[in-house]
């Protein structure tokens, strides 16, 4: 049983993961399907896969019921396990790569309620930061905010990294969506708590930025509801939810198209539903 399938950045490769504990990679150019790799290493069903940005090479992350997160890398044409993170006490449910501007950073959400952040520091080394008790009972989903350089439109001098404010959203079994922000000392702090769902939050998805000063997050839950959260001001303080739709059953998954004009929602009543999602236009 396939649990997740993801296209790479260019739509040329497909990664799938399954309850048979394997992660498979296919070349899907020109309508073909050639199996490139069958990666074994997990000891339980694999829930999710995520491709890193191609500027870091061909890198894939996977997370599993076996409480592990594995990072796979392609070197000289072959795929190998590059790193294994075993810092959680129960199933890891979701992995999400941060915007490439921040470096190579992976967020992982687990049923032990914690979220861990793995940052690549070079030479095969990964630094781990853990947010314990992010959500009581468990964390089901993590999603990064798009990279936005704060304030300035001036080109940064070469070689210097601009001061990005790193943010991501997480959804958990405490029915909450939490927004996390990295402080100057490198620690992660809970910035906002978004309450509207009446049951476990199953998925969160931060919409890609289309240049408007607003931020948008979609969330879906066991309670059958899909909310769209909008924040108007740049400081990210006031979030207001709009109910997109109430379905008759659990909603498992939400996902934005790359220009954020369509939100796809997968409902428990087993139909694939596609929505035209209007963005709130604030330009006169």
């Amino acid at each position: 049983m396939i649990h997740d399938a993801q296209m790479d950045y260019y739509g040329t490769r497909l990664a799938t993961c399954s309850s048979d504990r394997s992660v498979k990679i296919f070349d899907v150019r020109n309508g073909g399907q050639i199996l490139i790799a069958d990666l074994r290493g997990h000891e339980g069903p694999v829930w999710q896969v995520a491709w890193a940005h191609p500027m870091y090479g061909n890198i894939l992350a996977s997370c599993s019921y076996d409480r592990k997160v594995i990072i796979w890398r392609e070197e000289n044409g072959t795929w190998e396990k590059s790193h294994e993170h075993a810092g959680h006490d129960s199933s890891v449910n979701s992995v999400c790569w941060a915007p490439h501007d921040y470096g190579l950073i992976l967020a992982c959400g687990s049923s032990d309620g914690a979220i861990s952040l793995l940052t690549y520091t070079g030479e095969g080394q990964w630094e781990v930061k853990k947010i314990n008790n992010a959500h009581t009972i468990g964390c089901n989903a993590v999603s990064w905010a798009p990279a936005v350089v704060p304030g300035s439109l001036i080109d940064q001098p070469s070689g210097q990294k601009p001061n990005y404010i790193k943010r991501f959203a997480s959804g958990g079994c405490d029915n909450l969506i939490k927004l996390w922000k990295e402080e100057e000392d490198g620690q992660w702090k809970e910035e906002q708590k978004l309450e509207a769902h009446s049951d476990w939050v199953r998925d969160v998805a931060w919409a890609p930025s289309i240049g408007l000063p607003t931020s948008t997050i979609a969330s879906c839950s066991q309670d059958g509801r899909v909310f769209i959260w909008n924040c108007d001001d740049a400081s990210g303080n006031t979030w207001s939810p709009k109910l997109l739709h109430k379905f008759n059953d659990v909603v498992w998954h939400v996902s934005w198209s790359i220009t954020a004009n369509i939100l796809a929602v997968s409902g428990g009543d087993n139909k694939e539903e596609l929505q035209m999602q209007p963005q709130i236009d604030h330009l006169p």
Partner: protein, 611 residues
């Protein structure tokens, strides 16, 4: 709490039993993946999927059609021409330009239709033949609608001319010969007919025309009432037709292929000077009469009706629903927008209808390996969200060849999309490093202004040099120019290479100074100092004194500096001991050479000039 209206559209995936199993999905850059799964995260799952496949769902499959590609390419040219029409133009000249554009679009559709028709006839198997034929009818419908829109909205034909245009329109689209009008022309009053329809160049006004027609109409009515033709039922029914009698017309239904043919014929005989605003009454009733309650209107009928009602938004909406790609509505709406016909509808996305449709169309083009280039121009002409949409899409184009990468980069650079340039260059640099093409990697990282990566690549170059004793990609390194300043390591690489060049050109004094400065200025990484000092050896051993006393002192300082920082070696194996031996020998040689040079330098500097 606000709620959004509208039910989401449901798409059914064939082969997947959506009643039994759940589906997971993800977005690709241009498509969507769907497969059966189970979301409940238990270790052992009870549900067994019946369908082992993953489906790739694409919205814009038409981009892959060979023949339609011509449509996209040629209409792209027309689109660009339209955008560049001088905004200053007004009145008649503007209108004629816009009409010309519209005719151009239509001729492109017809050309495409013709080609597809040929392919349909030549098709080997009936299934594909049918597919092509249905494409032909879709294109034909598109041309039909566009033509009508041109007459009503762009040409804005006034009463009188309107019917002429509509006649042409129907004649163009009805395959069978209009035998009815042939009959009429051959009938009793040809002279009246001839002069009546001699409109082009005619100096008659509309009123004069109307009067004449009224006169003629009354004459016909008189004939009917007097039962002049009672003996010939054929001629009588002809007379009734000429009087626009609907029932009589409908009796000839088989000759009328559709309701709009009926409509125009009816108008011809009952109200030839019909005004545009009155059209819709006739249209609706013609449709109803023709269908006669037996069948219901098809999408095409509704679109045409909406056009007759001058409801542009309805036309666009219905076309969007009925057609499988955005080409038609995007281009038509853009043209109508240029005619200033679209109210600024407060649509959320893209802020107006025109932009929304163009964005959708252009996004679809990006799914195609070469048509994406057309998409770029369309985004350029979407003032609100075009740029950011382009930014998001262009990064996703697979850069399989250097040529393609350069093309993409040029497009980004032309539009000052520096972030995208940087990102793409970084990706290419990384790819080059993995394929061991260091020169390529270096030039990409310079173009990306990526200091960190440039350092990485420079390190690789230096490492290669240490291993092989020579540089690769000399051309590149020699011609770095100001780009050298990007990173310290890169600067060192460039300067080090310069040192070698100077040595080769026997400019020993310059080479010596450079070598020394590389160490004293700390540009050289410490790990490289030994190599540099070893490079100094031949200079120290030369017959003439190259390094001055002061320089020699500095070199000695560097050597001692380097030695003092060496970690104390613990237990080592044979290989390490051997390496150590070599190291020690080298250091000794250096010390000796430095001492000798110092002595010679002091003597030389101490002596008087010329003595």
């Amino acid at each position: 709490m606000e709620e959004f209206d509208g039910e989401p559209a449901v798409t059914v995936i064939p082969g997947v039993n959506s009643k039994k199993n759940q589906m997971c999905f993800d977005w690709g850059p241009g498509e969507m993946l769907v497969c059966e799964t189970s979301f409940s995260k238990k270790e052992k799952s009870e549900m067994v999927p019946s369908c082992p496949f993953i489906y790739i769902i694409r919205k814009d499959v038409d981009v892959y059609s060979q023949i339609l590609r011509k449509l996209f390419n040629e209409s792209h040219g027309i689109f660009l021409g339209l955008q560049r029409i001088d905004e200053e133009l007004t009145g008649k000249s503007r209108k004629s330009q816009l009409v010309r554009v519209s005719k151009n679009y239509r001729s492109v559709i017809r050309a495409c239709m013709e080609e597809m028709h040929q392919v349909a006839i030549a098709a080997k198997d009936p299934a594909s033949g049918r597919q092509f034929s249905s494409q032909v009818s879709i294109l034909s419908a598109m041309e039909l609608i566009w033509n009508l829109c041109e007459i009503l909205f762009i040409e804005v034909a006034p009463a009188g001319h309107l019917l002429l245009h509509l006649l042409d329109w129907v004649r163009l689209h009805v395959c069978e010969v209009d035998s009815l009008s042939a009959d009429v022309l051959g009938s009793e009053n040809p002279s009246n007919h001839d002069s009546f329809w001699n409109l082009p160049g005619n100096t008659q006004t509309l009123t004069e025309l109307e009067l004449k027609w009224q006169h003629w109409h009354e004459e016909c009515e008189q004939y009917l009432q007097d039962s002049t033709f009672a003996t010939n039922p054929h001629l009588e029914s002809l007379l009734k037709i000429m009087l626009g009698d609907e029932a009589a017309l409908l009796e000839q239904k088989e000759l009328l292929s559709n309701w709009y043919h009926f409509l125009v014929t009816r108008l011809l005989y009952s109200n030839p000077t019909v005004k545009p605003i009155d059209l819709h009454y006739y249209a609706q009733s013609s449709l109803d009469l023709f269908l006669g309650g037996e069948s219901s209107p098809e999408p095409l009928d509704n679109i045409l009706l909406a056009a007759f009602e001058f409801d542009i938004h309805q036309v666009i909406k219905e076309c969007s629903i009925a057609l499988s790609n955005w080409w038609f509505v995007a281009h038509l709406t853009d043209l109508l927008d240029h005619c200033k016909l679209l109210q600024s509808h407060n649509l959320y996305f893209g802020s107006n209808m025109r932009e929304f449709l163009l964005l959708e169309y252009a996004s679809g083009l990006f799914a195609h390996p070469s048509l994406w280039q057309l998409g770029v121009d369309y985004f350029d002409y979407c003032p609100k969200l075009g740029r950011v949409s382009l930014e998001l899409h262009i990064e996703r184009i697979p850069l399989n060849t250097e040529q393609k990468a350069l093309k993409v980069l040029r497009i980004c650079e032309q539009r000052q999309m520096t972030e995208q340039v940087r990102s793409i260059c970084k990706i290419l640099a990384m790819k080059a490093v993995r394929n061991n093409r260091l020169g390529s990697a270096l030039s990409w990282s310079i173009r990306a202004k990526d200091a960190a990566f440039a350092t990485l690549v420079s390190d690789r170059f230096l490492r290669d040099y240490c291993e092989r004793g020579c540089f690769s990609d000399l051309d590149l390194i020699d011609n770095l120019g100001p780009a050298m300043m990007l990173s310290d390591r890169l600067t060192f690489l460039g300067k080090y290479r310069e040192f070698h060049r100077m040595y080769g050109e026997k400019r020993f004094a310059d080479a010596a100074s450079l070598l020394l400065s590389l160490m004293t200025s700390r540009i050289a990484p410490r790990s490289f100092w030994m190599t540099l000092l070893t490079d100094a050896l031949p200079l120290l051993e030369q017959k003439q004194v190259i390094f001055s006393a002061e320089q020699t002192y500095e070199l000695m300082q560097c050597l001692e500096d380097l030695m003092s920082r060496r970690p104390v070696r613990g237990e080592s194996d044979i290989q390490q001991l051997q390496d150590e031996d070599i190291e020690t020998t080298k250091v000794e040689m250096l010390r000796l050479a430095l001492a000798r040079n110092l002595a010679r330098a002091i003597i030389r500097e101490g002596s008087l000039e010329g003595s």
